[in-house]
Amino acid sequence: MNMLRMIVTIILAGILTNNYVLSKFLGICPFLGVSKKLNTAMGMSAAVIFVMVLSTAVTYPIQRFVLEALGLEYLQTIVFILIIAALVQLVEIVLKKYIPTLHASLGVYLPLITTNCAVLGCAILVTEDYSSAVYGFGEGYVYALSCAFGSGVGFLVAMAIFAGVRRRMESCDIPEALKGLPITLVAASLVAMSFLGFSGVVHM
């Protein structure tokens, strides 16, 4: 029961208080780049959730049983980025072959995710937050996966809200110098400010 409560807390924290995009600045490029339309924003977010959970599911055991067991923690960065890159390629090939409909909707976004800092950031952060010093493997693994899922959903929520904001902005009269990216960033600032209101709601 305690564990279930912890899982719900982790997921809520990932969505509201520790939102990767709006409070940790991870995954800003897709947040600014593909949030023009709601459906592309949703496609990108779905791909991010998918890859984030999958890569954490692979990297967390590798950190525990390979890198830490052999004292190779300093190779973490290089090992994780290669695993994520290989995984994204693999997922693309598998989807193309067996689930072409899903590939048609997610496929476009998959290669972009290799260099998305939210995915690598999540894989590294969970090994620090749910490290072997505090949690056993089973417990840590479950928490790490829920953290990946929660953060992915947080990304989706931020993208969905921001896509709406940007649509409204299209009909606005904007000063010449602020047109384009600057006003988008100022709008992102306001969305991030609204998320500050959640701080303290979830206690970890």
């Binding site: 800092c117 600032s189 991030a192």
Partner: protein, 271 residues
């Protein structure tokens, strides 16, 4: 095989922006200069100095990676709560950029075209690990404040972007210079933003308290929303100063750093 790829790359290079073209034309001229053994030494020295100056101007002003090309937004927003953090991040990224550009340029004719992106990522990740260990050993306080963003230099678009756009087409010395110039441009933009945010958000500069501001700091600027806000206004100011709205004209995907990994690039691009 190798010759083919080189010629293909040169073709794609021709599509790039006029600004880049100009800069590259001057640089290819200079690249050719050292090859002429009979050329008088002083002249080539003057040319080298020009290259250094023009490369710096390009990296810091014309094609500032943060304010003009808008690459590497994540570390820009995350590590600029204080000016000292911004400089630390800038120097770390510059080191990685110089080393990875040099090595990628040295290996540019050996790496097969199809696997170049994984190869680049591996090279970049190795240098990031080295820098990470150096920072941990010699500047533990910086390591503490940069945290997750230090390993995340791996996925910083500036580094992969320069590898793909510049180092894979130019000689090692020029690539190292380009890395230095882009790194200095990155550091300058970060420092600019870090100073503004530290003065307004914490009422201090490089940790030294300022008289009136420190009693009433505007917390907004230290928090996440302030990062977006200051960044937006800085880009607006850069646009205003350069009298050109938004980015330099993008010519399809030829100029986009993500083009190599983007599946849309084969289908006419995302715009």
């Amino acid at each position: 095989m190798a010759k083919k790829t080189i010629s293909m790359r040169k073709d794609s290079q021709e599509d790039s922006v006029a600004v880049i073209e100009e800069a590259q034309v001057t640089q290819t001229e200079n690249e050719a200069a050292p090859a002429e053994k009979n050329a008088p030494a002083p002249e080539s020295k003057v040319k080298a100095a020009e290259t250094f100056g023009s490369a710096m101007k390009r990296g810091v002003i014309l094609e500032n990676p943060v304010l003009r090309l808008v690459l590497g937004t994540c570390p820009t927003l995350a590590t600029t709560t204080a000016a000292s953090n911004a400089i630390g991040m800038g120097i770390a990224a510059t080191l990685v950029l110089i080393c990875s550009n040099t090595v990628i340029s040295l290996l540019r004719n050996i790496i097969p075209d199809k696997v170049r992106i994984p190869a680049y990522i591996t090279i970049i990740a190795s240098f990031v690990s080295i820098v990470q260990m150096l920072v941990k050993a010699f500047a533990p306080a910086l390591d503490e404040s940069l945290g997750i963003y230090l390993p995340l230099i791996v996925v910083n678009c500036i580094i992969l972007g320069r590898a793909e756009m510049y180092a894979s087409k130019h000689a090692p010395a020029l690539s190292a210079l380009d890395g230095l110039a882009m790194g200095v441009g990155f550091t300058t933009a970060l420092l600019c933003m870090g100073t503004i945010r530290e003065i307004l958000g914490a009422g201090s500069i490089f940790g030294a308290k300022l008289p009136i501001l420190s009693s009433q700091p505007v917390l907004f600027f230290s928090l996440a929303p302030g990062g977006f806000f200051v960044f937006g206004l800085l880009i607006a100011a850069a646009n205003k100063l350069s009298k050109k709205n938004n980015l330099p004209v993008r010519n399809g995907c030829g100029d986009c750093p993500a083009a190599a990994t983007c599946s849309l690039s084969g289908k006419g691009g995302c715009k």
